[in-house]
Symmetry: C2
Subunit: 314 residues, 2 copies
């Protein structure tokens, strides 16, 4: 991608052309040539979008809920984007079957942009790639970015942590799976959603979650509200939107938003530093010397620490 091509692509993407936006996102996501130039050009225009993260165990109705939220924000924002991140899928751009059907409907909507991201081939990891994608959408004038993740592993937690407001979506009757939620995910939730709240057990689930929250160490002054929804019927959606807005206002006022953005900036700078150093090192050490050291480590002739000492000694 030469500067002119990058410039053309940027101009078309800024104009709202979906194919150009998609292409630009691929360049940035995969760190293709031109990615750095594009990010440099776009970076000053970032920091305006509201980024809402949606996470939770599979089967919680997250996709339907995201659909509903996109509809709700469509009223207030000129451009909306959904970034669906699936660490278990190897293909970016595509999506799992259910999503694909859902997306076909949404693609007809001119003001809504949908992007799915997978786990592979991201320099610096999936969460960093997500930050870059969100930054590009932000700079292109998208007012609300909904970042949706599948699953509740550490990778999903890291991805969704980039959001200004994180919604944890759970459902009644998850049983033992509540253990999985407890571990790590609950502490990053700003708003807790009990979806499918018309199902039996919603009261117990809400009560269990409230108790977990009380037991958890108060990380900030913000106590995550528990909102009951039915994504299918739309019940509880206004309350969810209100809860997200309330957290946004608190976050702005308390400095939490600023703190998160600073943390994101630190992660980005440190990650780029690391990549740049590894690039420089590769040149300095040389592929042959590295290969030779690796072979000796594999043969147990030397241990990995000794190999690194040797490689860096000069």
């Amino acid at each position: 991608m030469t500067t002119t091509v990058a410039g053309d692509l940027l101009a078309r993407a800024r104009g709202g052309d979906k194919r150009s936006i998609a292409r630009l996102l691929s360049v940035v996501e995969n760190d293709e040539p031109g990615a750095a130039d594009a990010m440099r050009a776009l970076y000053p225009e970032t920091g305006r979008a509201q980024v809402i993260g949606i996470t939770g165990p599979p089967g919680g109705g997250k996709s339907t809920l995201v659909n509903r939220l996109a509809g709700a924000y469509r009223e207030s924002s000129a451009r909306i984007a959904v970034v669906a991140v699936d660490p278990s899928s190897p293909f970016s751009g595509g999506a799992i079957l259910g999503d694909r059907i859902r997306m076909r409907d949404r693609f007809l909507d001119e003001r809504l942009f949908i992007r799915s991201m997978a786990s592979r081939g991201h320099a610096g990891g999936l969460s960093r790639a997500t930050v870059r994608v969100v930054n590009v959408l932000d700079a292109l004038g998208v007012g609300v970015v909904l970042v949706e993740t599948v699953g509740v592993g550490q990778e999903e937690v890291d991805v969704v942590r980039v959001a200004d407001t994180v919604c944890l979506v759970t459902v009644p009757g998850l049983g033992d799976d509540i253990q999985a939620i407890k571990a790590g995910v609950l502490e990053i939730a700003d708003v807790i959603v009990v979806n499918k709240a018309d199902r039996p057990g919603a009261d117990e689930t809400a009560r269990d979650l409230a108790q977990m929250l009380r037991l958890g160490k108060g990380r900030t002054a913000w106590v995550p509200p528990i909102v009951r929804t039915s994504a299918q019927t739309g019940d509880g959606l206004p309350e969810l939107v209100a809860a997200i807005a309330k957290h946004g206002a608190w976050s702005e006022e308390s400095g939490e938003r600023e703190r998160r953005r600073r943390e994101a900036a630190r992660a980005e700078v440190e990650s780029l530093l690391r990549e740049e150093l590894v690039r420089r090192l590769a040149g300095r050490v040389g592929a042959d010397r590295l290969d030779a050291a690796v072979a000796r480590v594999a043969d147990r002739a030397i241990d990995p620490y000794a190999a690194v000492d040797e490689l860096l000694r000069e």
Copy 2:
């Protein structure tokens, strides 16, 4: 940890003292002071254990199956270890409720060592920490190490990739979840297990998997066998053990085992190189300069790429 203390700990761990082994694993897992010395001392004795990875979606009965396998290998190996890796759990050493009950029984077995690992605080990532833990167990004379992961995300794939033989455990009637298996996990499987094979739908599941395997690109000459088991009753266990042994023999003969070990050595050396460089860089750049650059990036005064250029220019 002084050299003497490290030496004492090593000696006691070599003697088979479980508390010393657990302590040594913590030192190595969390890269505590003394970790490098311990790894240097132990590394020449590694490379003997048979490492078997067990992965697959939740609810597939992996834990029960691992229990059964541990029982089976108990006949042939003097020492066995189970390493249960849960990327969604923040606590190493502990385990989720079900595991804890299971483990209590196993702890009574002198020849079986159990370790659970979580996702946080691992320099170089979870898969690298797993490699270190497996290497220590290997050097301590453990003949068979069963590495069990929860879930099928990229992190789990990376973790289980360290094994000599990877078993993918699935169950009949997963429905759409078969999509998740298809994506990425199938291609690292050496043996495919249809567990709970007494359930309806086992035939269809086995047929679907066989078809997926035919469609997939043949990465090597090895075609993963599909073994039906019932971990509950023990049906199919001898066939599974035989399939793992057959893959082990093929792997040894074809050079696949050597190839994987070389890959693991490369990952370890590159990861250590990266960490060492970042350590050196931190000293060179200085925390103050880094903080200042991060603040300017967060304020959108400069972009992250420009910040890295500035930091490295001198």
